[in-house]
Symmetry: C2
Subunit: 447 residues, 2 copies
Amino acid sequence: MSEHVDIDLARERALAEADLPAAAAKLAGMSITEVVETLWRTSYQRGAVLFRLLSKERALETFERFEPAHQADLLRALQDEEVTGLFAGLDPDDRVGLLDEVPAVVAKRLLLGLTPHERSLTTLMLGYPARSVGRRMSPEYVRAHPEFTAGHVLETVRNRASEAETIYMIPVTDGEKRLIGVVSLREILAAPEDTRVADLMQTPEYATVSDDAEYVARRCGDANLLAMPVVDSEKRLVGILTIDDAHQILRDAEDEDIARAGGSEPLRRPYLSTSAFKIARARVVWLLVLAVSALLTVQVLGIFEATLEQKVVLALFIPLLTGTGGNTGSQAATTITRALAMGEVTSKDVGRVLLREFRVGTTLGLLLGVLGFVLASLVYDVPTGLVIGSTLLCVCAMAATVGGAMPLIAKAIRVDPAVFSTPFITTFCDATGLLIYFSLAKVILGI
Amino acid sequence: MSEHVDIDLARERALAEADLPAAAAKLAGMSITEVVETLWRTSYQRGAVLFRLLSKERALETFERFEPAHQADLLRALQDEEVTGLFAGLDPDDRVGLLDEVPAVVAKRLLLGLTPHERSLTTLMLGYPARSVGRRMSPEYVRAHPEFTAGHVLETVRNRASEAETIYMIPVTDGEKRLIGVVSLREILAAPEDTRVADLMQTPEYATVSDDAEYVARRCGDANLLAMPVVDSEKRLVGILTIDDAHQILRDAEDEDIARAGGSEPLRRPYLSTSAFKIARARVVWLLVLAVSALLTVQVLGIFEATLEQKVVLALFIPLLTGTGGNTGSQAATTITRALAMGEVTSKDVGRVLLREFRVGTTLGLLLGVLGFVLASLVYDVPTGLVIGSTLLCVCAMAATVGGAMPLIAKAIRVDPAVFSTPFITTFCDATGLLIYFSLAKVILGI
């Protein structure tokens, strides 16, 4: 980033020293993106001080770019009337996201500050299930009737260009507001003015209001749509999901997936404006779960303490073997988790996936096993080499198969595959790997 | 996915049994998304057979939705004239992506099949550096002059609506094609017909043609833009990056990041249409690197073999301790890698990051250390408890700091943080953790 965003040092110093008039001048000279990035790099308390230096319009534009949890942090440091103004200025979907982050009493007060129309739009969206597209869509859109002409639609679009969330994709509905097609503004413009919408519209790709937001966002992006109509259970149009909201949903989902793949919860705030305590809190649960499940390895090793006493050299390979098992398992789990998220694999593919992962694991295990056998035979002796080589083969085949199965099981029991896979695979592969290792050692070395 | 895409069993069976007329009928009844998902689930050889059953237009739409590596697989199974037709039908940016995936001789033949105009557009884009936005942008756009009126621009847009990549964001250029502003179609429509573009246009957010594609795509998405103008070093407009291309770039980058966080290379093809051999190949390099670096742990343990012989019980905690270190390190590395990618942290923040990670690591280490001390004291004895507790504290503090530093170092030496961090952290934390463990054990237990 350093080469791209040229935030000069003088500007940073002015902001840091709380020389407010100088800071205000610096902020006024920045683009919204630069303001956002500057506020990302301070604590939210200091962020609030800088935030007040922005003009009302720029403040709202900046605020809209923050994640809901970060917005909620900032609100705590602002005055009531500032908060009410910001909240009223947000789009309905952003309002819903923010309301989920603030205490109930604050949420109630914020809702009371809205106009009755805005309040009813917002509470309607709050009624849809958490994580559903109903909470992320926009209820403000332009729609057309199939008997309208292109010229008439263009006129409507012109009049409503400033308020609707998007005017580039226009849902077509019948007299009962049921979705029957979509037409793009591009087609409206390209067609002669008296063409009927019915002759231009296409079969719509649409989502149902209770669908998972991430799933809908991915479909919207993958199908290259600028917006996707959202309907209720009777196919009546209730809103649209625009590509920029889809982008935000996918970015949040990615945040979560990446954090969980790394064994922590997402911060949902910029790193530098999150306190060390909050960062530790996002990591501690996972670390404890992993540490507690690692106690299982202590148990398993306890069983083989006598074997270890007879041949201490076996201990040297423990981290290598458990590590390789864990790596193979997490490779498989990551691949399948991603393939599930992208819709490339579904729960009913369990047989194909397991067979494939077993073959992949065996291939990798054969390669590593032969290498391990040769190396350990050279450095120690052939029986030790045999133990290491055969353990690597078995561990890789087992870990890949189990790693591939976990996300599918998680999906079947409706748990986030990323949450379920990581701790289970590490523990399971470590413990099973040690069992395999010492069992093979006992047989081959005759201890 | 199973609840969303209702691919009925009869349809799958018809496809599987290669009953071609039945399969053609089934395919004809599917939406493009369903066709894409069906082809994702077969080998590319069988995919090519099904592909031929599609109408020419639907075949192209389907083909456009595949990833370049998957497209290249499919091309190998198709006839020359089919290939030429598909290739000519692609957008210039998709063509460039595909050319990178096929052998040079095929690329040359494909280029010769284009019209001179299309060929020159394509070779121009091929000249930009790999991974730059120049290779992913669209060279076909509508632009306006500041002295044009809104009515005139609307007329131009109407005439070019069918060919330009987007008509919703219009770059404004001066007489020398230098970018001086942007105007949205929304603003053109909302304004009176005789308004000058100069009075409507806004300061543009733009990218330079050699900028990293992922960086530009993220900016485009984060700033909620439908398209971003791309200029050369003299600020002359050369293309635009549209939001749907940005979405695809980010999805590919996410694929890569997630795969590498899980210790493998991305497949760049749907899982079920990739052979087990190719899957193993995507994983083997990482697995070998990790296994070879794990040999370091064997070395470190070798140093302490005498200590281990005196007190075998120390071996029982090895997986627990190395595991906890590895987890803490990878939590920190994941967080910082993500923060770097999102622009929340830059290379010059190294001091703030390290201090913060050290504090987080110490907090986590204190908690785990106390727990470890209590548990190990109860089950074994107080000196063993002291060794385990103090090791956990030191390992967590060290692992979080090192884990936080790695991505910043990677960034500074211009290596992908994800590639650099994973193997280095695992190895380093395991080896250092064992050194700390046995050193503390020798001191505390007086061995």
